[in-house]
């Protein structure tokens, strides 16, 4: 029985950790943990979740209490993992898994492979091109934005790979996109610098942090919400700075 209690606690903690590293909202993390705990009769679970940390404790029946603290760096978005954990917690609620099975399933979810890099690169290009067109660019502008989007993700996935801080990554990303856009325009592909750059910058925009930040604040998780919104604002500021750097240099040295 004692072992079981420990395993249930570990399962609850792991579920929270997987969700938070995948970029779930605080409300979802708390809700899922409570659901799993309730399904396994884990009593007196107390949770305190921030956007970058988990603190949970239980007071067990006979063997004293358990507690866990996890630091979780602000991570990327893995919506597939969020969906999988959501599904799992629903199934646990229906009594379809023993704690052991649930724990192993969570370990599997944690190891879910990310999409192959080439798919992400192409998606970034397609997204940039499509949004360039949506913003009002022409066909050739979209082609130029497509190339800029490709280059951007090639740079991120193969050159940066976590070597740079987030700030440096975004400034250099914004600058790189503008360089490529200028290059394409000077090669005669595309005619509207504004549209090409605006489209190509879209993969850098912090849509996830923005949306989740608002959701956290709507759920009255003010600390986590403001951390995420601050993250979003910082990313936008860095991006704008990168764009500024390139345009300024270009206007000063070449454009006159």
């Amino acid at each position: 029985m004692e072992k079981d209690e420990k395993l249930v606690f570990e399962t609850v903690a792991l579920a929270g950790e997987v969700l938070l590293t995948s970029g779930a909202e605080i409300f979802r993390v708390v809700d899922t943990m409570n659901r799993i705990a309730a399904a396994y009769q884990c009593q007196n679970l107390d949770t305190f979740i921030l956007s970058n940390g988990i603190l949970i404790s239980t007071s067990g029946k006979e063997h004293g209490s358990q507690a866990k603290i996890r630091h979780i760096p602000l991570g990327g978005s893995r919506l597939d993992r969020i969906d999988a954990v959501n599904q799992l917690s629903r199934e646990i609620g229906l009594g379809m898994h023993s704690p052991q099975q649930a724990y192993e399933r969570l370990k599997q979810i944690q190891k879910m492979p990310s999409r192959p890099a080439w798919q992400q690169v192409i998606a970034s290009g397609v997204g940039s091109g499509a949004f360039c067109y949506v913003f009002g660019g022409g066909m050739w502008d979209a082609v130029a934005a497509f190339v800029a989007g490709l280059v951007l993700y090639l740079y991120f996935l193969y050159l940066v790979k976590g070597r740079l801080s987030k700030i440096a990554m975004n400034i250099s990303g914004g600058a790189l996109v503008t360089v490529v856009a200028l290059l394409m325009l000077n090669l005669g592909i595309g005619s509207n610098l504004e549209m090409v750059s605006a489209g190509a910058v879209v993969p850098l925009l912090p849509g996830v942090a923005f949306t989740n930040g608002i959701r956290d604040i709507a759920d009255e998780d003010y600390i986590s919400g403001s951390v995420r919104l601050l993250d979003a604002m910082l990313v936008v500021a860095c991006l704008a700075l990168g764009v500024c750097l390139t345009s300024f240099t270009y206007n000063y040295w070449i454009g006159g």
Binding site: D80, D83, E91, R115, G127, V202, G207, T211, A240, V243
Partner: protein, 160 residues
């Protein structure tokens, strides 16, 4: 008119592309694409009738509602559709124009465009908040007709 159709299609394609980057399970790509397209369609249709800000509000609200409806129907978190679907509406052009105006020392238009971009973002926030406040029973009722088919889909996802 043709331009509008192409733009709506492009918004859908772009949304699916970003859905892939955010690792949305491939079973939901269609829904994400439709959500993104619908958002841009609402924006484009409202734009001639109202000011840009109410149009943005309506579009974001539509995206949130569709996301929540899909979430109930497909039994998965609304975030999946919301994050991808909102991308066509994020004011990327405004951010770029602000940065560019700053560089060219055009302070007054930088302030102008920057403020408009900020207002757009605030209207999006308001729409998201309003959409999230709607009672979930409403979406459950709307999706109720298809609950049985949704159950089958859930089982499929489970088995895979």
């Amino acid at each position: 008119m043709l331009r509008l159709i192409c733009e709506v299609l492009a918004a859908g394609i772009g949304t699916v592309a970003f859905a892939l980057i955010f690792h949305v399970p491939s079973a939901y790509y269609w829904r994400c694409g439709v959500t993104g397209s619908a958002g841009w369609l609402v924006y484009s249709l409202c734009l001639p009738m109202f000011h840009a800000l109410p149009a943005m509000f309506a579009a974001t609200f539509a995206v949130v509602c569709i996301s929540r409806f899909s979430a109930v129907q497909m039994r998965c978190p609304a975030t999946i559709f919301l994050i991808a679907g909102i991308f066509p509406l994020v004011p990327g052009l405004g951010i770029y124009r602000t940065a560019y105006a700053l560089v060219t020392n055009d302070t007054s238009s930088a302030g102008d465009i920057g403020l408009t971009t900020l207002k757009t973002a605030i209207f999006m926030v308001l729409a998201i908040l309003l959409g999230l406040e709607l009672p979930s029973g409403l979406f459950r009722k709307l999706a109720n007709a298809d609950t049985d088919s949704a159950k089958i889909t859930t089982n499929k996802t489970k088995n895979r």
